[in-house]
Symmetry: C2
Subunit: 257 residues, 2 copies
């Protein structure tokens, strides 16, 4: 069965989507079959993988809200790259929180949805919005582990406390298996004092030091540029820092298993 | 009465909090009296202004949820800088969305709260979380205008469409006076193709071109570093690019009135 990985951090703009899209791509280069699930209503992972969202297509919202009696398989899109599939998102997903407020077991909708297809993939990578609301809780309920991109900036470092608290709540009440399997420093720029100081804090803080990856994602404009053409940087700018860094993260991820 | 300004963009990490904190600080250097209202449960603007959040203090959550019969004035904190006050936020605010789901007029809670104190200030600047949920709608209901920080990256540019749609919904149903008064390019780095291409798009797109500020906020590590010591860059690194850029944005903002 597929190993299910949540990419999460409540702080906005820390590189969650870039991680989801590029880690998935890098794992296919290691011969793995990977499904990306976009659980952000802003559907940036869907854009980043070059999949055009049109209102007629079934997407993750239909599955979570059960509005449309479709099978999970019907929502899976092939991307341009072999071994890399996507369940796309849509703006409508932002309504799910309020729509499901009185539904029993609303936190387990995604888990049920994925159980139908998890034997097809080696990994399922789930992108989350920048909040700890029902959508992210659904991802935590379905996941085996959480990878946390942490921008090497003070606000992002401070956000880790609340994230770890939320994850331990989920472990107690919803998903006892869930654990944080790694913290990956992002937007790392060793020329700046702030980046070096946050890396230092990550490696000395008792709560985080055993989880921090050796590999970092350096600040690199090729990553943002590749999102403009809907291709993972790992596929379209193979010699860029971004591509090298995400491939290093993928092989460290496989090694740390 | 105070002019009430929302700082909003659903895309995460585009520089909303940096804008709220530093525009407020720069306006006090122009002789204005300013209140910052932190409407993000992650309370980054509270941290950025050096105000320690402790659970015993009344904060914006108590006012929005009406849990505590306090007056708005009781929640206002003085910061270290004359003419710059803050209503702090707290993690508890993240519960407001679900707690208020059945309350009539829940979108107008902040507007009611601010009406008690708006004659004390020249400007009230409201920081928002990276979502278009009840907290941001409350800010849109209370605001006279919206300033939109737009990271010069593709995902942030694409997010403008949904933001403008949401604002026009709010104008029709809740607050007819609300308008977008400016789009401010952030994380601008003229050495990168992606930054230049997004600036070009902002200046040519019919929907946005008349709103784009001449001034940009360049990528500058002093901005992130200053958040570590809880001081606006405008006050603690006066000759940095960050400080110069936020002061330029403040004077363009006053000129565009
Ligand atoms: N290491 C990096 N260097 C430069 N740009 C990056 C890097 N990682 C991500 N980016 C770009 O920075 C922006 C923010 O990253 P991204 O959107 O992946 O973060 P996020 O955490 O998913 O944001 P959100 O909280 O809105 O979901 C995007 O434009 C992305 O392409
Ligand atoms: N122009 C800039 N150059 C460099 N760093 C910046 C700049 N503007 C903001 N920052 C830093 O980048 C990070 C993201 O900015 P900030 O937190 O202000 O964005 P935000 O939109 O408020 O994020 P969120 O969506 O999580 O609320 C912060 O660490 C901030 O200090
Ligand atoms: Mg994202
Ligand atoms: Mg913020």
């Amino acid at each position: 069965n597929a190993r299910k990985i949540a990419i999460a951090n409540e702080k906005g703009g820390v590189g969650k989507t870039a991680m989801a899209v590029n880690l998935a791509a890098a794992l296919t280069l290691e011969g793995k079959k990977v499904l990306v699930v976009d659980m952000d209503p802003q559907h940036n992972a869907t854009i980043g993988l070059g999949v055009a969202v049109d209102d007629g297509m079934v997407n993750i919202y239909h599955l979570i809200s059960r509005q449309n009696p479709s099978q999970t398989q019907d929502t899976v899109c092939r991307t341009k790259w072999k071994g890399l599939d996507l369940i796309p998102s849509h703006m409508d997903l932002s309504g799910a929180e309020i729509e499901l407020v009185d539904e029993e077991g609303r936190e387990n909708r995604l888990k049920d949805v994925l159980s139908e297809i998890e034997d097809v993939y080696d990994y399922i990578i789930m992108d989350t919005p920048p909040s700890l609301s029902l959508l992210t809780i659904n991802v935590f309920s379905a996941a085996d582990e959480v990878l946390v991109p942490c921008q090497t900036h003070p606000y992002a470092f401070k956000a880790l406390g609340d994230l770890f608290d939320t994850i331990s709540d989920v472990t107690e009440e919803i998903n006892p298996e869930l654990k944080v399997s790694g913290i990956i420093p992002t937007f790392f720029d060793r020329r700046t004092r702030v980046s070096r100081s946050i890396i230092e804090k990550l490696h000395t803080d008792e709560r985080y030091k055993d989880l921090v990856f050796e590999s970092t994602i350096r600040t690199n404009s090729a990553i943002a540029e590749s999102s403009d053409i809907g291709k993972p940087v790992v596929f379209c700018r193979t010699r860029s820092y971004g591509a090298l860094d995400f491939r290093a993260v993928a092989s460290e991820f496989l090694r740390r298993k």
